[in-house]
């Protein structure tokens, strides 16, 4: 094993000054746990460069035994398979030789089998723009054939004040709750047969050509195989690139951290301004579960509920009548406790969190200020519409949770990650590999689908301009378009997260009035709805 790994340690000398040290995969080889990758870069580089001097010095990029593909998609998650589908179905791109590498095992669950199986606990709210993309790929119809939980109403409120906001008229779907595995399976089924998909093909390391050179990325798989790609599309955030190009940094491509509690390693980014930070930790975990709700006759389950608690938001997303999915963001310790509880107390914990009126600060002056502010917002709202007071949303209470589906509880650490650059020479990031956001706005997968649509368009445009595949200008164009979009969303989600994680009265007042204003003033609310629907 070690010798094989050592053989893959190579030094590439390019034009004198540009020396590229390709670190081998040894230090990463036995680990499957993402956290343990977070070692220090500088020691990492120096130790491997000493290693590499004793090993062979043939050029990595001239490896002849490696298979060559036009595009290799590393990571077959939602973003990866959407990319494959989109490439395979594009008139311009379908003649390219594409390979998908998925590290996980092959799951031959057919769509029929999935529709008979119980609901999975990993779900995403799929927003209208993503529905449009999936529809274009012919996948949306298949997903609907399995099952989706349409969200036709949404209520968001705050544990620290009476403020609340509601969206949706109860007829049009604001989003659809879909199990991740259904989305992946449906996408997989629509990947044209011209595209090869390999399961159990874990990428161990990849070597990137230095900027502005003609080399091709070389992937090393866990089974020792090598693959070269004219363009590498990375849709897997946990692939740790083992390449460090000295003098011209590609480290920024690595989304280094998976944060859990205090375990951050945002190396070399301390001096960067906040928007360039590769990552920040929330010190929060998300607990997911499938919940049984009290069934109310002739009342369908179409409302998504989200309550901001001091530790993080608690969301209940409709799956079908009497069944919803829980995403509860909270402190890691509390998350552990929630997982350890028996089903009965778990349901009670959710109910009391949803129904309780307990507040961290409840001063009479605060409440009267809030009341007056809210009234003022409603008065202003009337100026814009002839609405009567009755049209201002009235607060509803979610149906009580009566139980939790067995074995459906799990928890995930949360982080904000954003790659400073989405592209380097012949490599491009899509989906969570480029950005990870807090689930409070249900946008993670949606941003990934946006990436897929934008990258497809950029590649098509570029090929029809006669450029080479993965030309720098094409990738740069993609990065420009997506960062403009994603950064706004990232910043907004992060700001919301920060605003709501405090119980300080001024902040509580601010957000209460903010919510009241948005809820009462129709033009603002319509703008927001339109932005989400866009």
């Amino acid at each position: 094993m070690t010798t094989k790994v050592l053989r893959s340690l190579q030094v590439v000398k390019k034009s004198g000054s540009l020396q590229c040290v390709v670190c081998g995969s040894r230090r990463y080889s036995t680990s499957t746990n993402a956290e343990s990758f977070s070692t220090n870069t500088s020691s990492n580089t120096s130790s491997t460069s000493t290693n590499s001097t004793n090993t062979s010095s043939t050029s990595t990029y001239s490896r002849k035994d490696a298979e060559l593909f036009d595009i290799v998609v590393a990571g077959g998650g939602m973003a990866g398979f959407a990319m494959a589908c989109s490439l395979g179905q594009s008139k311009v791109l379908s003649s390219l030789r594409v390979l998908v590498l998925e590290g996980g095992p092959h799951t031959d669950a057919s769509l029929e089998a999935l529709s008979a199986a119980p609901h999975d606990n990993r779900v995403c709210a799929i927003a209208p723009p993503s529905v449009r993309l999936l529809d274009k790929l012919g996948v949306w119809h298949d997903i609907c054939g399995v099952r989706t939980g349409p969200v036709k109403r949404m209520q968001v409120w705050d544990s620290e004040s009476d403020a609340m906001i509601a969206f949706g008229d109860g007829h049009r779907a604001l989003a659809h709750i879909v199990e991740n595995r259904v989305t992946v399976a449906a996408l997989r089924a629509r990947v044209p047969s011209s595209i090869e998909v390999r399961y159990g093909a874990r990428v161990q390391s990849f070597d990137l050509p230095p900027p502005a050179t003609d080399g091709l990325p070389l992937l090393t798989l866990r089974d020792g195989g090598h693959i070269r790609a004219r363009l590498l599309v990375r849709g897997a955030s946990v692939v740790r690139g083992a390449s460090v190009v000295r003098g011209a940094s590609v480290e920024h491509l690595e989304v280094w951290t998976v944060c859990r509690g205090g375990n951050t390693a945002a190396r070399g980014t301390d001096s960067l301004p906040w928007w360039q930070h590769c990552s920040s930790r929330y010190g929060q975990s998300a607990v997911v579960a499938t919940l049984q709700l009290e069934r109310e006759e002739n009342e369908s389950n179409i409302t998504a509920w989200q309550k901001f608690l001091p530790n993080g938001p608690l969301a209940i997303l409709p799956l079908r009548h009497g069944l919803s999915s829980l995403v509860w963001t909270t402190a890691p310790g509390h998350a552990q406790a929630l997982l350890a509880m028996d089903a009965r107390s778990f349901a009670d914990a959710i109910n009391s969190a949803l129904w309780s009126n307990e507040r961290a600060h409840s001063a009479p002056w605060l409440e009267s200020l809030q009341r007056r502010g809210t009234q003022l917002a409603r008065d202003v709202g009337h100026l814009f519409s002839s609405a009567t007071a009755a049209q201002v949303s009235s607060r509803l209470l979610p149906p009580p949770v009566v139980g939790v589906v067995e074995d459906s509880r799990a928890s995930f650490p949360l982080a904000l990650n954003h790659a400073v650059h989405y592209t380097a020479n012949r490599v491009v990031l899509v989906g969570d590999a480029a950005h990870r956001v807090h689930p409070l706005a249900g946008q993670g997968a949606n941003l990934g689908f946006g990436d897929v649509a934008a990258l497809t368009t950029a590649l098509e445009t570029s090929l029809l301009l006669g450029e080479t595949l993965g030309s720098a200008s094409c990738l740069y164009e993609y990065e420009r378009i997506r960062q403009r979009e994603n950064l706004v969303m990232l910043a907004a989600i992060d700001a919301l997260q920060k605003l709501y994680s405090s119980t300080a009265p001024p902040l509580v007042l601010l957000r209460a009035l903010g919510l009241a204003a948005v809820d009462a003033i129709a033009p603002i609310k319509e703008k927001i709805e339109a932005y989400v629907q866009r």
Binding site: K91, S94, S95, E460, L464, L465, G466, E467, A472
Partner: protein, 338 residues
């Protein structure tokens, strides 16, 4: 420090281009702005003289080939493919001219299939004055079989060297080192399209050049030209700004009196049975390194003309002129195809 630099470049500008300035001031065809200066009361007739004198002076030499101009490019042949080098604007110009040629050929029906990655499959193109092949390569990648022609040995070598790096180009792209006049006299095939991008402003006799281009063209073949207009604005934009102030291209790249007035060019084309189908202005934003289509043709412009064998046919396409929503909008090259 900065002051000194500016002073230096100013004196550079004056000394280097003293002859140019002189020729500008004493030129027979005084530029239009000269006439509107207060000391000079011009008439419309005087401005019109410009195009006539232009034709008269050019008539004397009958070769399109200018040795000095060609040597200028040969000397810089190592830089053709440096993305940030002196030819940077030519690289970014591909975003406009590749769609111009591609969609132009699709619209004249020269192509067989327009779906897929290679819409120009089966089309033969002659790229006159191809230089390092900045435009020839993308056209070949779109499926066309391209012959790149340049009078400079060094440029052709650079072009061949670069094209050998891309396996996709093999068998689709060949280069020939020859000047256009000689090439057109020993022609072994005619082409569906002739492209001469940014070449016209470097040749001696525009007429001889156009004639030779026409000789290489099949009946109802397409001629695509991009060049620089001869207007006061083009002096300021293409010489003062681009060469001296912003230093986008090397000093001496262009000579103003070689620039080609669009109306004269169109007339010249018409006389030879080449009907102008489309004309576009092009504008360069140096900081962004981006080109965009504009209606105004007073600095850079592009023309698509079609060879009509039978000139008596009253061509309906005559009316087609600048159309802002033309299919060759660089933003949506795909939309026009799908």
């Amino acid at each position: 420090m900065i002051c000194k630099k500016i002073m230096n470049s100013c004196s550079d500008l004056i000394s280097l281009h003293r002859c140019c300035l002189k020729s500008l001031l004493c030129h027979q065809s005084t530029p239009a702005w000269w006439h509107v200066m207060p000391q000079n009361y011009c008439t419309v007739r005087e401005i019109n003289i410009k195009t006539e004198t232009y034709q008269n002076t050019r008539h004397k030499q009958q070769s399109s080939f200018n040795d000095e101009e060609v040597r200028k490019f040969g000397a810089l042949s190592d830089h053709w493919w440096a993305r940030d080098g002196p030819y940077k604007p030519l690289h970014s110009l591909n975003r406009l001219r590749v769609p111009l040629v591609r969609d132009g050929l699709i619209s004249t029906g020269a192509t067989v299939s327009k779906d897929g990655r290679q819409p120009l499959e089966g089309v033969t193109i002659l790229d006159v004055g191809c230089g390092g092949g900045i435009l020839s390569e993308p056209l070949a990648r779109l499926g066309a079989s391209v012959t790149g022609l340049d009078a400079s040995h060094k440029s052709i070598e650079a072009a061949q060297q670069h094209s050998s790096l891309d396996a996709d180009l093999q068998g689709r792209l060949q280069y020939k080192c020859c000047d256009l006049d000689t090439f057109s006299q020993r022609l072994d095939q005619q082409y569906d399209a002739v492209v001469a991008s940014e070449v016209l402003e470097h040749v001696d006799s525009i007429e001889a050049f156009i004639e030779s281009c026409n000789a290489c063209l099949k009946p109802s073949g397409s001629l695509f030209l991009t060049t620089i207009n001869r207007t006061p604005l083009s002096f300021l934009g293409a010489i003062v700004a681009a060469e001296y102030l912003l230093r986008i291209v090397p000093v001496g790249t262009h000579t103003w009196d070689k620039f080609v007035p669009i109306e004269a060019l169109k007339k010249l084309l018409e006389e030879r049975g080449l009907q102008t189908r489309l004309q576009h202005g092009m504008l360069y934003a140096p900081v962004l390194d981006r080109w965009c289509w504009v209606a105004d043709t007073s600095v850079n412009y592009a023309l698509h003309a079609v060879n009509i064998a039978d000139t008596s046919v009253n061509y309906a396409l005559h009316a087609v002129n600048y159309a802002p929503e033309s299919p060759m909008s660089p933003e949506s090259p795909t939309s026009s195809l799908s």
